[in-house]
Symmetry: C2
Subunit: 202 residues, 2 copies
């Protein structure tokens, strides 16, 4: 790190905070639905500062996708990876998805990738590779956790880890979709027991 003070006038804002604010704005309004004025007000900076720091609208958008992939987008996956018991892990994954999808304090709902980024594939250059990678990485992480459970004797040896991981991933897409359509957390939690059973195949 370089803590030495730089020459020139110092920044009046925090770069990562501004980037997170931009992500939340894109998340809530979509790429095309977000204007530069929306961004500058939410980020608390002026147009020229935005362009000097983050580039144009498209480059800023790609940076918010990277931020989400690296930091923010993994809460349910992390919950799934950290819980020791595999059945509890699946349940926690789904519960975290539902919680994050429905618990919005004026903020955005659901998954940034599924709700916003997915609609800009083929429209905004640079989104395609990021989407592809995000899905592949998540599938792999979910599958690895299942394989650990197999190795620990919690699941049968012929348990199809990758396919079940993909199913879990797609369940998340479904919950995000339903929460977008106005379903409450209680309604989504209704069949969580069935879902756990279906994922584990018991």
């Amino acid at each position: 790190m370089n803590d030495t003070k730089k020459i020139g006038r110092p920044r009046g804002f925090d770069e990562s905070e501004a980037l997170e604010a931009a992500m939340n704005t894109f998340w809530a309004k979509g790429y095309d639905g977000t204007s530069m004025k929306d961004l500058t007000s939410a980020m608390g900076i002026s147009g020229p500062s935005l362009y000097a720091t983050f580039g144009d609208k498209r480059e800023l958008y790609l940076k918010t996708i990277d931020l989400y992939a690296d930091v923010d987008g993994c809460a349910p996956v992390v919950a799934f990876e950290t819980e020791a018991d595999i059945e509890t892990a699946v349940r926690d994954f789904l519960a975290t998805v539902i919680s994050y999808s429905t618990h919005s304090e004026g903020g955005p709902k659901g998954c940034f990738l599924a709700s916003c980024v997915a609609t800009t594939v083929g429209e905004v250059e640079g989104v395609d590779e990021r989407m592809e990678k995000a899905i592949r990485d998540t599938d792999a992480r979910l599958a690895r956790r299942f394989e650990n459970a197999i190795a620990a004797g919690q699941l049968a040896k012929d348990f199809p880890a990758l396919e079940r991981g993909r199913l879990l991933h797609d369940m998340r897409q479904g919950y995000v979709h339903r929460s977008r359509a106005g379903w409450s957390a209680d309604r989504l939690l209704e069949d969580i027991d069935d879902r756990v059973r279906m994922v584990l195949g018991t």
Copy 2:
């Protein structure tokens, strides 16, 4: 029907064809990403004709949603309802989803509701109720087919029809999401056997 000729200059375009062209445009570019110029070129009509016939942009958008819900959006569901054997029905449903999601001849990909309409909930007035209704109706139709299979002795009596139907629905969301991210039909078809097994719980 009223086949008597109307007074005044006759229309130079077909209303339902124009509406379908509008739907495909929204489908491909999203609501905010579609300009009135995009619409008029795709529909082959002029601005004033569009406003006189369909109202403003928002009203036209809602009409395309209704068109999709009534006619176009049900191909996989219809496949699921018409096939007699339940296992084949599930397989046909998923195969149809994959086919429709990936087989784009320059046209739009995936599901209009999932890929486009879902992102305008809370942004465009009138979308919310339509999304909610579309999901509820599809869940109910899928569940009814499962119940028929139970009544026909093809499935166990304690088979949770509604929950399995919802799972099938969410699998569709997942396939649409993956196809948007660039997955080919072949890749999506890879684990279709596992999916059939997971839905039927066998």
